[in-house]
């Protein structure tokens, strides 16, 4: 049972192995905090959707499963959006467009299709939490690396400014910076996986 949780962290990591959810991965990771917040929002939406869809898996006919999944996911995303706007207006402002973006995050749809719609409740929850955390750590590192070189800070704390002659590298916070960083991360991961499997 535990392997359903662990697989999302490394072996079947949704970003680095399955290469899913590229839109939020590349778009929102300009700062570490943005990557982390996106990960937490995905954790809530993915876990809630997996619970509902796992419970309904024998009721939803195969032919209309995709529209059913999308309606359920969109409902949870809208709840998060309204809840943040009412209770945490500051966080809501900082996340702004990221929250509605979760609806089109294909990691969530993929987990429903590949896992929650075929498995009982408990494995589905473990799968959802594992995948969300796998998504979160990649976005967090991606955001931290881009923030470090693009702004010279991590989580808003100045770090690189202590190094004389450092100038923010603008390209790191532009879209190419996201592709470069993600490519390097994927390369390191492949290397480590090969090395460890020997």
């Amino acid at each position: 049972m535990l392997k359903e949780f662990v697989k999302g962290l490394w072996k079947e990591n949704p970003v680095l192995v399955a290469v899913l959810g590229m839109c939020p991965t590349l778009a929102v990771t300009t700062k570490a905090i943005n990557g982390f917040a996106m990960g937490m929002a995905v954790l809530f939406v993915l876990t809630s959707s997996s619970i509902i869809i796992s419970l309904l898996r024998k009721i939803i006919p195969h032919q209309v499963r995709i529209p059913s999944f999308i309606v359920i996911i969109a409902t949870f995303v809208t709840i998060v959006d309204l809840f943040f706007k009412a209770k945490f207006p500051d966080i809501s402002k900082a996340l702004g467009p990221f929250i509605p973006l979760i609806i089109v995050n294909c990691i969530i749809l993929a987990r429903q299709e590949a896992f929650a719609s075929k498995n009982p409740l408990l494995p589905s929850i473990l799968d959802a939490v594992g995948m969300s955390l796998g998504f979160t750590w990649v976005l967090l590192i991606l955001g931290a690396v881009r923030e470090l070189f693009g702004f010279g800070t991590i989580f808003g704390y100045p770090i690189m400014t202590h190094i004389p002659g450092f100038k923010p590298i603008l390209v790191m916070i532009l879209p190419p910076g996201a592709f470069i960083t993600l490519g390097v991360m994927k390369g390191i991961m492949e290397y480590l996986t090969k090395k460890w499997s020997k």
Partner: protein
Amino acid sequence: MKVELKMVIVLTLIGFFSGGVLYLVNNATKEQIEENLKKETLKAIKEIFPNASNKLPKKIFIDRTTSYFKIHDEKGNLIGYAVVAEGPGFQGDIKLLVGLKPDLKEIVGLYILEQVETPGLGAEIVNPNWRNQFKGKKLPLVVIKQREPKTKNEIKAITGATISSRSVVNIIHNAVEKVKKKEGK
């Protein structure tokens, strides 16, 4: 049960429940969201006009995207206008509040209420380091790049987000024109 019928029933029920849940969540949060918006508008006005009275003045509507407040101090003297305006940015609409002197020619301050610009680039329009340069600037504004502003009309664009910076200036220009017409100035 025939599968066609089951499809229709299941989808209808899911849609029905999802609509119901969202109706309840929307009702439960609507007032709080409006309250937050009012609080934020007042906060923006107080930031731009520290002498303004603590009560939110009556909002005067011009059209769907533009409205404004007449700002008075505690004694009732007109100290300026706060214009709330909305317009297209780089990725979506930007909603801002700009404070103007009573002659509608000089900017007192700028506050961004809502935006969905690129984080780290266009979204930096909310950063006080950028928007505070509008203080004391005279209309019409000109957007410049890669050098420091020299005149009272120049606004330095955010590096990598010229379109967002220009959008803010355009929204201000359009809105002020409308307010001038309405106020007969």
